[in-house]
């Protein structure tokens, strides 16, 4: 591929959205472009957006799948609000995404798909390429399908198979446009089609044809470069939240020196964690695809009882089903990690769309007084550390912990500064091996004075045979007890056990230390809130940001932090669940700002809202 002969422009950031039919391979295309971009050293943030249907009817609006990648020469926090470039593989992809495009953005359209039939499917009477409807944008019509087929004329592939390589043509073109290094993509194709050399050759040829087309056609007069970002030194990889979370669980097992037992039932958007962990048996990780959500958590709890790190991964509907078993784990005081990759509810809701509306369920969604620890990752790579933290709390304090991820961080990706294994927290615990009273008895509910944890006496330990169960326990002995004073004591003890878990103070980001407005967030809203705050500060509008990782227990300094500001704003992708907690607990008149559209906040939305608060109080 020859050196570029065209004008090269420097950009500091670009947002590209690849959109097509769900069978067009847009997720793969976006993923490869992201990988190339990572190799170059740009900072990256990505957002896939796809329908729940595996293959919705071809060419229809519900069938549109897209992948957005934001890359820059500085550190970025979100996948970007509005694309600078839209790649639209068919009329549906154009129509579904047009509203998000700012004027002047580039649109690359696959003209081969703009047939009368495809246009009719999405309600275009006349092609928007011909009636001037796209006058606000810079449109690049490209006969992507037919040029791909032509490039593969000698490949021996059928026309239909050749057409399927059109996503690689698009990738080649975009890789040329943004001067991406493509060696990793060629290697990827060799791996992916290792058993089909003809497909390796065809996909590479399609990629090259796309690249060459960019170089030769007059339709593209400018080529762009985005320089590497200044990032902390170290080794990076691009990672999605689900993958990071799975690796965090692997790491937790290694650092605890315990086998990990995952019980899971397939559910969007959590299944990828099950898939990933099923590959890592050499770490002693057992994955059980259970018959249902209840069995999944039951098996995990059974494994915890036997001395493993029991984990179950699911989404909101699954947590609802697991509630009774989680309550049992609270009564048994055994470690258990419950991962909830939140999606839009209620009921089946929108399984592939994001939401933060399971916070109430995580905090309160069980019968009786049933407290547990709740933590939430703030970004894709943070899922790794959050998983380790969840395991640490579960193991140290012998409690179930709910880890509240969501679809946005689970499927989004960003560069991850790889940690040194030796620097990860040491999670080793000791099992009880001996009686714990002076007269040689074993009392299963005699607590460690510091952690309030009861001994973890696993079956197989001689002399410590004991019975536990869901009936109320007598303090210390663990015998069945209906004593009123004992129940009151145990309920308060279980609450205190969680409340007393030490968690780090919440930190406030207020670089100029002059803000009067604090934005408080939790979980995946970290990126958009952070981007909005930065934008405001650049405009001279001071605003402070605090972000919660621990939702239960809350950081000890939170009340003090909240009371130090004139105004506290809490943006959430729910109807104000954290705001409720904060108002009830701290008597702070926090202002909720809520969006439950199934999509993450854009930085611009938050910036506009916060600008009003900062200026007008």
């Amino acid at each position: 591929m020859a050196a570029p002969a065209k004008r090269v422009e420097q950009l500091d950031r670009v947002v590209i959205r690849f959109a097509g039919d769900s069978g067009d391979g847009m997720q793969l295309t976006g993923d490869r472009f992201t990988s190339e971009t990572a190799q170059l050293g740009n900072d990256i943030s990505t957002l896939p957006n796809f329908p729940a249907e595996i293959r919705a009817p071809a060419g229809t609006l519900p069938g549109v799948s897209s992948f957005q990648v934001h890359f820059a020469d500085y550190d970025i926090l979100t996948p970007g609000d509005a694309p600078n470039v839209l790649v639209a593989m068919n009329p549906a992809a154009l129509k579904a995404n047009l509203a998000d495009l700012p004027a002047g953005a580039d649109i690359i359209v696959n003209t081969d798909e703009f047939t009368k039939r495809n246009l009719a499917k999405v309600g275009y009477a006349v092609s928007p390429l011909e009636d001037g409807a796209l006058g606000d944008w810079s449109v690049h019509p490209v006969a992507l399908t037919s040029m791909t087929v032509a490039a593969l004329a000698d490949s021996g592939l059928s026309k239909k198979d050749a057409e399927r390589a059109k996503n690689m043509f698009a990738l080649g073109l975009l890789s040329w446009m943004y001067s991406r290094p493509y060696a990793s993509t060629l290697r990827f194709l060799e791996r992916k089609f290792a058993k089909r050399p003809e497909l390796v050759a065809a996909n590479k040829a399609a990629f090259q044809a796309g690249w060459n087309y960019g170089e030769t056609t007059e339709s593209f007069s400018v080529r762009y470069e985005v320089k590497p970002a200044k990032m902390l030194p170290g080794t990076y990889r691009n990672i999605t939240g689900n993958a990071a979370l799975a690796l965090g669980l692997v790491a937790a097992g290694v650092r605890a020196k315990l086998p990990v037992f995952l019980g899971a039932y397939p559910i969007t958007p959590a299944s990828d964690i099950l898939h990933e962990l099923s590959k890592h048996k050499k770490f002693g990780i057992t994955t059980m695809q259970a018959e249902d959500e209840i069995a999944a958590v039951g098996a995990a709890l059974g494994a915890s009882y036997g001395g493993a790190l029991g984990v179950t991964t699911t989404s909101g509907p699954g947590v609802a089903l697991k509630g009774e078993t989680i309550s049992l784990a609270i009564a048994l005081e055994l470690p258990l990690v419950i991962v909830d990759v939140q999606r839009a509810g209620p009921s089946t809701g929108m399984p592939t769309k994001t939401e933060q509306a399971d916070l109430n369920m995580a905090l309160y969604g069980r019968h009786g007084e049933a407290p547990l620890a709740v933590i939430a990752p703030k970004s894709p790579s943070d899922c790794f550390h959050a998983a380790i933290e969840a395991a640490r709390i579960a193991l140290t304090y012998r409690t179930p912990v709910i880890l509240l991820s969501d679809n946005y961080v689970a499927n989004g990706s960003e560069p991850w500064l790889l940690p040194e294994v030796s620097e990860l927290p040491d999670l080793q615990v000791s099992f009880a091996t001996e009686p714990n009273t002076e007269d040689g008895r074993f009392l299963p509910y005699l607590r460690d004075p510091e952690t309030m944890a009861r001994p973890w006496a696993v079956p197989g330990t001689p002399g410590l045979e004991h019975r536990i169960g869901g009936l109320e326990k007598a303090d210390k002995t663990g015998d069945i007890s209906y004593d009123p004073a004992n129940h009151d004591f145990m309920v308060r003890t279980r609450a205190a056990r969680i409340e007393n878990i030490p968690v780090p103070d919440v930190e406030v980001e207020d670089p100029d230390e002059n803000a009067r407005v604090l934005v408080l967030g939790w979980g995946s809203t970290y990126g958009p809130i952070g981007a909005a705050c930065r934008a405001l500060r650049q405009r001279g509008l001071p605003v402070a940001q605090a972000h919660l990782r621990h939702l239960a227990p809350l950081p000890a300094n939170l009340g003090e932090v909240l009371k130090a500001y004139d105004k506290v704003v809490i943006p959430e992708m729910n109807l104000g669940q954290l705001a409720h907690v904060v108002r009830a607990r701290y008597l702070v008149d926090a202002v909720p700002f809520n969006q439950v559209s199934g999509l993450p906040f854009t930085a611009a939305t938050l910036e506009n809202m916060l600008e009003d608060v900062v200026k007008n109080g």
Binding site: K282, D292, G298, P459, G460, E465, R467, I480
Partner: protein
């Protein structure tokens, strides 16, 4: 026990060693007492150290059982014992895991877990105390109550056809299926012995009398005056006959899918190891709600890989191929894929 992964103790234990310090609190006259005594009396035979034995139960009268056994035990939640026990057994091949459940616990609220534990052939010994009634909730009909049963929740008779628990277990691919009776200690222990020797899921239905809410449910096959005319004792390798002077035979009529009881004729010779579950299923169909011809004993006892062994083998195979320490492998895993370095 037939699992080579479970240790054996040289110490001779007695029934007393298996009694916990908890006061037994079933209703006076409950069939559960007899079962508890039979199990405690049988346990020393296993030769397994107490600490390697775990009883897991659900909810219901029967599920109080673990509190009374001086082993490890968990009284869990309604219907979920097979699921919890599956996680325990699959991750701890050194444990002998027993599930104690009832007709409501196993066949109603926990039906799904029961059938899936059986199909996986998890190395669990599942004792289902069937009294055909809900006792702990004070007398509602259960999924094994006979059609038309009048109970607190069905004052004019239930409209639910009952399960045949053995047919259900066989349909769920169970490898070991047996039935016994609470009051026949010798038979109960012989069935427990066979169950314990079986590697994989062993499903044992124990007819158990609830003297408060369903007294006499099994009287026809317990009363010495009637039982011999109705109770069919299955013995491996023996002809299946019963009644005075063995006057009844269980036969397989030509052209029929099922088995029949008839006077005289050539009885079938019982073989629980027949691979085709159709035979054990046909045996299970001999008895209905009326108990008129009720086989007890081991219906089916066949070998199939256990879930536990398959899970452990995959782990061992992967670990045998692994190179380096866990920390090194973890570091390699984190650094896998397309990485880049910033200096």
């Amino acid at each position: 026990m037939a699992s080579p992964t479970i240790p054996i103790t040289p110490v001779k234990l007695t029934a007393k060693d298996f009694k916990s310090d908890q006061e037994v609190r079933w209703c006076p006259g409950c069939g559960d007492y007899a079962i508890l005594a039979a199990v405690q009396g049988f346990m020393p035979e296993l030769g397994i150290p107490r600490e390697n034995i775990v009883f897991v139960s659900g909810i219901g009268c029967s599920s109080r059982f673990p509190y009374y056994m001086n082993t490890y035990g968990m009284h869990s939640i309604h219907g979920r014992a097979p699921a919890i026990a599956t996680g325990l057994s699959a991750s701890r091949p050194d444990l002998s895991v027993w599930v104690v459940t009832g007709d409501g616990d196993a066949l109603s609220i926990g039906g799904n877990h029961l059938i899936h534990a059986l199909r996986r052939n998890v190395n669990l010994k599942i004792l289902l105390f069937n009294n055909r009634i809900y006792g702990l909730t004070k007398g509602q009909y259960s999924p094994t109550s006979e059609l038309g049963k009048i109970t607190k929740s069905t004052p004019v008779g239930s409209n639910d056809a009952p399960f045949n628990p053995l047919s259900l277990a066989l349909g769920a691919e169970a490898t070991f299926v047996a039935r016994t009776i609470d009051s026949d200690r010798k038979h109960l222990q012989s069935v427990l012995r066979a169950a314990a020797e079986h590697e994989g899921s062993a499903f044992v239905e124990i007819y158990q009398n609830c003297n408060i809410f369903n007294d006499g449910a099994f009287e026809l096959i317990k009363d010495p005056g009637t039982r011999d005319e109705h109770l069919i004792r299955l013995e491996q390798g023996e002809p299946i006959t019963f009644g005075a002077d063995n006057r009844y035979s269980v036969v397989h009529p030509e052209g029929s899918f099922g088995l029949q009881v008839q006077e005289g004729g050539t009885p079938l010779v019982h073989d629980a190891t027949v691979d085709d579950p159709a035979y054990a299923f046909a045996l299970s169909r001999l008895s209905g709600s009326d108990l008129n011809t009720t086989p007890i004993g081991v219906f089916r006892n066949v070998k199939r890989p256990t879930y536990d062994n398959l899970v452990q083998k995959q782990l061992q195979d992967a670990q045998a191929k692994a190179k380096g320490t866990q920390e090194q492998m973890l570091s390699d895993l984190l650094n896998a894929g397309d990485t880049w370095t910033i200096l």
